[in-house]
Symmetry: C2
Subunit: 176 residues, 2 copies
DNA sequence: ACGTAGTACCTCGACACCGATGTATAGTTC
DNA sequence: GAACTATACATCGGTGTCGAGGTACTACGT
């Protein structure tokens, strides 16, 4: 997820680590902050895989900057990760939002539609947080007000997203 | 989050690891499955901290079961974790849902209200996924349809949850 | 002159998590 | 009779993440 953000941001424009950190923080930091000691090793990993290049530049105000940019391999890797997200990228809302944040880079409307359809299938699957006798329990059947809340909120999210998915898919299909 | 689920489920009734695993899977497994090799070490950790006790029992159909139950310390720890969730438990939806799933065990309506109010404060904070010139960008200003989706869905969720939080808080305040 | 905040990068130890693999029994399917 | 699924537990190596700490320079207030 962090790696996808890095690849996504660097696809838009070359950045140095410190600026990258601020962009990642703006994107998902309010939900889950990422530590510096997580970002820099992640950059090194991606560099080692040959997905990004590092160019030294004199520091504007402080230490010399390492301007990072995607290699051709890095661009291909980004496209691969966007076109074929892992199951967790589909089921976990935070990861899914990260995919969505960069999905426009996938350019091909048909390929974008494939990804949206995977999320659609996931949301259409009957699933819940609470079960009785292996059957999902609806909000109306729960007496615990907090568990009721979980179901009510999840349902509202699910409906809003299904709406959005269906209209966006219609537009993508029309474009393709 | 996993540890909270374990404490929460064991507060309801003693269980052996395998059954615990199924309950955890039912609660959050469709979003983020947890591996066996994560659960068993987690159980050991909690046991080592003195929060749960292990009683051997002949296996019903297979290997001998280890029936797990909360100690008094474990119950106290659960209450502490429910009453004073970490910041990430408040900001991350999956973690927050886990807190909600067991919040009824906190018994005291005033203490429950304190927790809900922390989530309320988090949701009322102006924050977004996308910024231009350090200002949050609204769905209407974005032209990327996928980023628009993120904002539309997040807004729908936020509204549903704010509604629910306010009515539930009113009920809790009336009860206290 | 001193402290603090911001820029810009880095290392290290600790630890949670995971996939792979192992052990053993019982019931079901082909 | 073999293969598979379910029950029930466990270990182990690899890896991602984090907090704490370190380095070094600039700018600003006092």
């Amino acid at each position: 997820m962090l790696e996808l953000s890095i690849l996504g941001f660097l696809h838009e424009t070359p950045l140095h680590g410190y600026e990258l950190r601020k962009r990642v923080a703006a994107l998902t930091g309010h939900i889950k902050p990422i530590a510096e000691s997580t970002l820099y090793p992640a950059i090194k990993r991606l560099e080692k895989s040959g997905w990004l290049r590092r160019d030294q530049q004199p520091g504007a105000v402080a230490a010399p900057r390492h301007v990072l940019s995607l290699t051709d391999g890095g661009r291909a890797e980004l496209m691969r990760r966007l076109a074929e997200p892992e199951p967790l990228d589909i089921s976990n809302e935070n990861r899914w939002f990260t995919v969505l944040a960069f999905l426009r880079h996938l350019a091909d409307p048909a390929a974008q539609a494939v990804v949206l359809r995977r999320r659609l299938a996931f949301l259409e699957e009957p699933s819940s947080f609470f079960y009785a006798d292996d059957r999902p329990v609806s909000a109306e059947e729960v007496d615990d007000p907090f568990r009721q809340g979980v179901l009510v909120i999840a349902r509202a999210t699910s409906r809003a997203e299904l709406d959005w998915l269906r209209t966006t898919l219609a537009a993508l299909d029309a474009a393709a």
